[in-house]
Subunit: 254 residues, 2 copies
Amino acid sequence: MTYCIGLRLNKGLVFMSDTRTNAGVDNFSVTRKMFTWSVPGERMITLMTAGNLATTQAVVGLLEERSKTTQERNPTILEEPTMFQVARLVGSTLKEVIADSSEVGQDASSKFRASLIVGGQIKDGKPTLFLIYPEGNFIEVTEDSPFFQIGETKYGKPILVRAYDPDMSFEDAVKLLLVSFDSTIKANLSVGLPLDFSTYETDSLVPSDLIRFDADDPYYLSISNGWGDALRKAFHSLPSYAFEMPDDSVSRKT
Amino acid sequence: MTYCIGLRLNKGLVFMSDTRTNAGVDNFSVTRKMFTWSVPGERMITLMTAGNLATTQAVVGLLEERSKTTQERNPTILEEPTMFQVARLVGSTLKEVIADSSEVGQDASSKFRASLIVGGQIKDGKPTLFLIYPEGNFIEVTEDSPFFQIGETKYGKPILVRAYDPDMSFEDAVKLLLVSFDSTIKANLSVGLPLDFSTYETDSLVPSDLIRFDADDPYYLSISNGWGDALRKAFHSLPSYAFEMPDDSVSRKT
């Protein structure tokens, strides 16, 4: 499994991904799942990947290779005129790779599946995010659905739903994503540290730093340990159930 | 889907289940998933069910029917000498029902799957809980794993992991389970109100009341609304990330 989140804020975009890959619990390693292409001053595109590692590496490899062979007829990820066209290109590349791996058997395609989040901004357009399905189709973030998750999405979703705010700062967004990742890491062995993240400021059109949280990063540890205490405090701040007032609910013998 | 939790505390056992069943999102209804058998002063057994409704109703029906025909040779759920034997009986009944439904096709068995939590106490034994798999085998709670979840287990697990305490009161346990259910209900349409719960006090050996939280229950609403605020407060109590200190983490250009 994997866990990646792409978040759209009023200030810009935030991306975070874990780095664990595994083929069974007895075979795991660290791999980067966040990739950036940019033409400073003109475009910034970040891609995050979840799913079959051979598929996602092939997609990234093809996008990268084609971005360098500008002689070819088809526009590359560095030339597509809009983020929508970038998403179409990434989607069709993903579909192509999966179809290519699947030729050996009719049921094999499910094994080669992958999902992607692609986001960024191209000059004269707005910063945006797309979630790309293994079939090559995709959806875009909206005000009602301002973030995408891929991989092991469930454990870390409740805090995103409750604490996300489009006006939040990058500093708070990094904290929010760390809390969401920490809940997931504590529950699913296939999601693991280190964590990579990057932020993109609207209209900056420059590539952002990729920052990595290792397991001994002091800020990561302060969030991971602090969140347990903060959650327990939050829990104790709520009123306990009062058995003495059965009139509040329907009570009956079984 | 479904969501049920069985919790073992030092004081006793707590059970909570939702009541939503569905066959697609366009066909859902309310059904009880918590069932109790007892011989006051001698035993108290509670069963919760998740999975194919025809399977779980057949299991409950068979257990119920057989508990009334005491003439038969096989011991019933009201006669098994230990909770371990109760779990074996329930497991074999579940396996029998699934096998019976599966005869029509070789791949059909997965459609008829169900998981169960059975817990309670029999005189001279300790209160305990078992998680029963569709194959009829089962595991028992331990000090390290003091609760079981069945159905949609992921969204509601982080708070259980963080806030469970074996010494907690029933009043706090009900609050904990409501928070866990509320996180799940907000994320998965196939888990829904009303919620049923019951508590069992160690060595009481009497059936407990089954209490139902409807969507307009004031205590449920106070937890559901209060938890969002409490979570946000917990989130804001943690330090924000400081981009000004890149020395704390490995930073590099992509």
